[in-house]
Symmetry: C2
Subunit: 770 residues, 2 copies
């Protein structure tokens, strides 16, 4: 490094550290939303949706092109050519469908209350559309419904959405509300009321992935409908003295199969808007939300408000790079800041896990906790850029815990439901990571109690047998190896938390549990291997058997053996040497079984047996830093970013999983990754963008920049942090929590000297160092 360079860098560091306000003002004037491509991830298995949502917003107003297919969990699949309508809620990037609540569809001509078939073998309200007539921007979506020549535009606030329809001239224009629509699952009940000639309200209850979910809405139409017809079970709800015997109101109905059709006569290019507030509590609250957030009909204003909200979030990153790099990065940030979603009404009430109405007086409540995914990088990212939100999210988890009849932290929860999806108790690393990263505003005593109780529930997923035997036996429990490994990691987090709080007995108990992974490592074969309750290894063990007799979760031992993020040194010891382990790691990336396993068709992004499309692999490339070969990490994360991320609809190789795939990108694009949330380590890799300045939650800036950045220069030659030469393959939260400057020098060949000496390895968390 030249003297001039050093001075320049130091100057920049001082500028950044001392003038955050001036800089912030400058950056927030830029329009970062232009770089966001909401269609990224809509083709294939990303399972994203292209509609309108504010950051972490309760409403996700988006077109549904698919209703039944498991693989189109967000309701939108880019390869589709028909649209069912526009519904108010969607899940971002999950592997299981649900939501798609409160579907509206504008039509002209004959009234249809059924969607019909996508191949038009049965007529219905659905319509063809073309991507040529489709626009997806931050806070704005539009499409032309070809069957009706109706342009539909969408925008949203936190708890409300607005649809603007541009109709052709028609004496039979309609807006169809189909309360029986939900993605994949069943509406068990619904109701609707016509409140006046511009207002309707109602609800539906869904028995879906979430077993009991209630969505209420109130909708206002920009001009009075000529008529509003309600249908129940396919028949119009209307009094007929002879047929219905007793009076029936035409203004209300309830049942599992309810539609409402608002009728209009429209002139050419007439615009009609519908704004909809939603609530998990009541139509009255939906109306409160609507009135508070969307008081008028200024569509453009709400688009602008949404863009401003997003710009504020996106401005946390000032990226320099190509258009493609910026689009990839800001789209990833957009996707990372969609979930968890706001889950309380403007009066601060929400429906809790116990189905009772609770007030979140002291925190903002959130829901959609895909924790098996998001503990890895999403919440650690929030620790850096969204610390207050992360505190609120943790408070939401603690409220869930208190409302849970089992006194368990959320596993995979959304709205007022626990789905029990996936394994482990990964609210724990989210909590512990936040605790050690100085997140404020959480009752840590309560959080600690919740962590311990969640890890020791007598009936939950064989945690009792796990503690007794030191592992989960495959003859007694499904997914036994994955559970053992993930429990051990979660327990490491609890042990660390216990030590910090002075809970010595718990510290010892969970430190012991944290080493459980050792009991399933078969040194003979060098893989984690299922063991039965008598201590016998599983016979006929096939390392390529997907979910081997239920011993692995969405993978094989090739992915899962590496799930020891908290004690990589211990894993190295099990292998006998770092070289042995490095060779084993090499084999993961080099060897492919060639099998296309049943059940893994949504996991792509494979490099050998490294499956980037699913989370168990997400920290595996970074383990080279623990065996003295950090250049392999550098090459691999750059390779993954080059090949498996981008700015196209098909650019995500697996479910975005509520932002985890995107958060992985953001970290690695910036040149570091939290291999072990709950610790304070980040492993350094090679940045995938020339430069980024990240504004931390405290307002300070972390500047990351590179020298010699190019597509080919994927190897780190040297690193300087805050003006100091940095030879370690990692840095800690403390090193960056006040902001600062990380400077990378890159090159096209590995610098095998850099950070490869044992003293430069990440310390890892062998239990003695807890």
């Amino acid at each position: 490094m030249t003297y001039f360079k050093l001075i320049t860098l130091l100057s920049l560091y001082i500028l950044v550290a001392c003038a955050p306000n001036a800089r912030q003002e400058q950056t927030t004037q830029k329009d970062y939303t232009q770089f966001v491509k909401p269609l990224v991830g809509t083709l294939g298995e990303g399972n994203t949706y292209p509609g309108a949502q504010v950051p972490f917003g309760m409403v996700q107003l988006s077109p549904d092109t698919e209703k039944w297919q498991w693989g189109a969990a967000s309701g939108y699949e880019y390869s589709d050519s028909t649209i069912y309508g526009f519904s108010m809620t969607h899940l971002h990037g999950t592997g299981i469908p649900d939501m798609g609540d409160i579907l509206f569809m504008p039509t002209v001509g004959q009234t249809h209350i059924r969607p019909g078939k996508k191949d038009f073998s049965e007529p219905g309200y659905l319509s063809k559309f073309s991507h040529e007539n489709e626009t997806a921007e931050v806070g704005y979506y539009s499409v032309v419904l070809d069957d009706y020549n109706i342009k539909t535009e969408l925008t949203s606030t936190n708890r409300a959405g607005m649809m603007r329809y541009t109709f052709p001239a028609s004496d039979s224009a309609h807006v169809v509300l189909d309360l029986s629509h939900v993605l994949r699952f069943d509406v068990v009940w619904s109701n609707v009321q016509v409140i006046n000639e511009t207002t309707i309200a109602g609800m539906h209850q869904v028995k879906g992935w979430a077993k009991e979910r209630y969505v209420y809405f109130t909708a206002e139409f920009s001009r009075p409908f000529d008529a509003a017809r309600i249908f129940s079970g396919g028949k119009e709800v209307k009094y007929d003295s002879y047929k219905t015997y007793r009076f029936r109101s035409s203004k209300e109905a309830a049942g599992p199969d309810i539609q409402l059709v608002a009728d209009y006569q429209t002139s050419e290019a007439e615009q009609l808007s519908v704004k909809v507030g939603i609530s998990p509590i009541s139509t009255a609250n939906a109306m409160k939300n609507l009135k508070a957030e969307m008081p008028d009909w200024d569509f453009e204003k709400y688009v602008s408000v949404s863009k401003n909200l997003w710009n504020k979030e996106l401005a946390k990153f000032e990226v320099e790079g190509t258009q493609n790099q910026k689009e990839t990065f800001y789209t990833a940030a957009y996707h990372a800041f969609m979930s968890p979603t706001t889950y309380f009404d403007v009066d601060r009430n929400y429906r809790g896990l116990d189905q009772n109405i609770h007030e979140c007086k002291d925190f903002d409540n959130y829901t959609v906790f895909s924790l098996w995914d998001t503990y890895r990088a999403t919440h650690p990212l929030f620790c850096l850029t969204q610390a207050d939100r992360n505190a609120n999210m943790i408070n939401a988890m603690l409220a869930h815990y208190q409302q849970s009849p089992d006194k368990l932290l959320p596993i995979w929860s959304f709205w007022n439901n626990e789905t029990w999806c996936m394994i482990g108790y990964h609210a724990v690393p989210v909590i512990v990571d936040a605790y050690f990263k100085g997140v404020q505003g959480v009752d840590w005593e309560l959080a600690y109690e919740a962590c311990v109780n969640s890890a020791t529930h007598p009936e939950y997923d064989a945690t009792a047998e796990y503690e007794q035997l030191g592992y989960v036996p495959y003859d007694l429990e499904n997914e036994s190896v994955s559970k053992t490994l993930e429990y051990a990691y979660d327990d490491y987090c609890i042990a660390r938390f216990a030590k910090a709080l002075g809970e010595e007995a718990d510290y010892k108990r969970f430190s012991k549990r944290a080493l459980a992974y050792k009991n399933l490592f078969d040194k003979e074969i060098g893989w984690m291997r299922p063991k039965d309750s008598k201590g016998q290894w599983m016979a006929d063990f096939d390392t390529h058997h997907f979910e081997h007799l239920g011993a692995f979760t969405e993978g094989t031992t090739w992915q899962y053996t590496w799930t020891v993020p908290h004690d990589v040194k211990g894993l190295v010891e099990l292998y006998g040497s770092k070289e042995t382990m490095a060779n084993k790691l090499d084999s993961v990336f080099a060897y492919s079984s060639g099998k296309d396993y049943k059940g893994v068709d949504d996991i792509h992004g494979r490099i050998g047996e490294y499956w980037h499309g699913n989370e168990p692999s997400h920290h595996v490339t970074h383990l080279y830093a623990y065996v003295g070969q950090p250049w392999k990490t550098q090459q691999l994360t750059r390779h993954i970013i080059d090949t498996q991320y981008g700015n196209e609809p098909g650019s995500l190789c697996g479910n975005d999983d509520c932002g985890q795939m995107s958060a992985w990108y953001i970290f690695n694009a910036m040149g570091f990754y939290p291999v072990c949330p709950g610790s304070d380590e980040y492993v350094i890799t090679s940045p995938a963008i020339p430069s980024v300045t990240m504004t931390l939650s405290n307002g300070n800036k972390l500047v990351i920049d590179t020298e010699n950045y190019s597509d080919k220069n994927v190897y780190v030659q040297s690193v300087m942090i805050n003006g100091v030469e940095w030879n370690k393959s990692w840095f800690s939260f403390n090193d960056i929590k006040e902001g600062g400057h990380i400077h990378f020098v890159l090159g096209d060949t590995p610098n095998k000297e850099w950070a490869s000496a044992e003293e430069h390895y990440p310390p890892s968390m062998s239990t003695s160092k807890l």
Copy 2:
């Protein structure tokens, strides 16, 4: 009358009028509850229930012996010999089943989650019982379940109930909660949670007669259960790694078919109690209700509280007579004061017709409005003895009106539902009657608006055609004659209300409508007759055709022709003379078609074509007062009371209809009846008890006594009111509103001179006298 007698009567009058407090103190120390026989009406068509309820209480905790039969609408039928269990809610005396929510059943031995069959062809939790081991008292019910040798005792507060089970020694004792149980209809959803080892909570949603009804509960057990097992769809809800794949909590479940079984080991004669709070809002509110009303386990205390509450209501009547008379009277009072029922939680919130949660800040909310029945005598009785409650009930109707998407007053509503059962808009006479009887605490302007809107809804039951044509045409509308007649009466009430409020245009409009009955009176045959929209009488008209082509409601023209309570003089004019009308009336009582019509099997109590078992006949005997033959009224009401009321399970000849049959009794037993609520007239008849002192809502006493009372002395010889000889066949509300004294002299032959002169007829409400 001797001088001595006069002095005695005057002294009594002065005593009563001047010393109400002393008298009240004295009377409330008496135990009137001893005379109440809750089993009255449980055999046959009375459709009462024998369980525990406080006056107008939200909880009706009672055994269900029947679940499916239409005819056992209250869930209990005396002729049954099996019990399903004990549920928290019941409808009193209705013709249609619903409720039976939240059923608990104690058992021993094998676990049953299904009731089984009453003939034991399928085993289940239901049990044989015998009336020998059954006790039904005010606020207390007990029965021995023979299959299990378990004594069950019930008591209740307003919003909570307690069950005390006395078990035999058993190592497999159970308390079964079957959330799928409801009378007759479908549970569409339910959920349950085990909160701790003594507390459970949950809800079920019923699609019943009421289309969308939500009942929440929280239940506490007096000692911890050994286990609580939840069943869904017939299977125990329990995690099994291999069978359920993902974790399932054993502490909660949701679905349409949920049971919970609490397991115990019991010692001989061990008592276990369960107390249950209910709420239309949430389990949290059910808990609030329970904690507020039933804080401890003192079963006897709550029985005592219930008896005291009832005694306070029953003490409004100080009856002298035989044991049978007292039992009949106080049981009737008991039945009259069960409905409408309290419908708000202790925090004053309730679920409204719009399914939103509303607070009743300024009134006590009530529900169960069987208005086609209760406008006749029940609410007029409340005007005398329960004026404040009646005001609250009217306020509840106005809240319903405001929440109604149709802006209609209740027709037949319960909980948060309008059932649209029966015809007319009979909240109107309830409101107008209360207005003219000085009930305080109602927004009468709002009430007036509600009355007018309810009478002029453009879609409701052909009221538009009715106004246009002057009658409801039978070719366009079902129940056309009944509707015409009842609308005309309701419209008379509105006209009167309009005049009082100075609404002249409405006064004219509704005065004209009040005469609509004339358009359907066929002078040729002397009966009301269906007419079509072209003005043609129905051809081939059979006066005995039940519900003739849908022209009559639960009757024939023999009952319905008399539905002109507001203008009997006008009806006399149509007949041409009072003698002609009297002869026609005579024929009603003398002639019987002998037909047992389909659909009328629950209407008994027939005297010719007078059907006391249903409401359209209820004022018919009193019409003799309008044609100069009051002795016929006297003889008939005494005859009806002698033959169709009593103190036995079979003593009610038709549905008690939320107290209307019982209120009819109370009025007539006291010697007067409100033929035309909304007017202030009461027609005098012959008292059926020797003496009664009624405490009015204002605390004043109305003393009614008789001379020469005997079974045979059914004819009024003379009447004295407040010491003044009374020759009119009627008196007005003003005559008694401050209390007073009505003295009857009775004899065994008609005194045809008394009140038979034209100037002594009730004035009737020919429209010129509105």
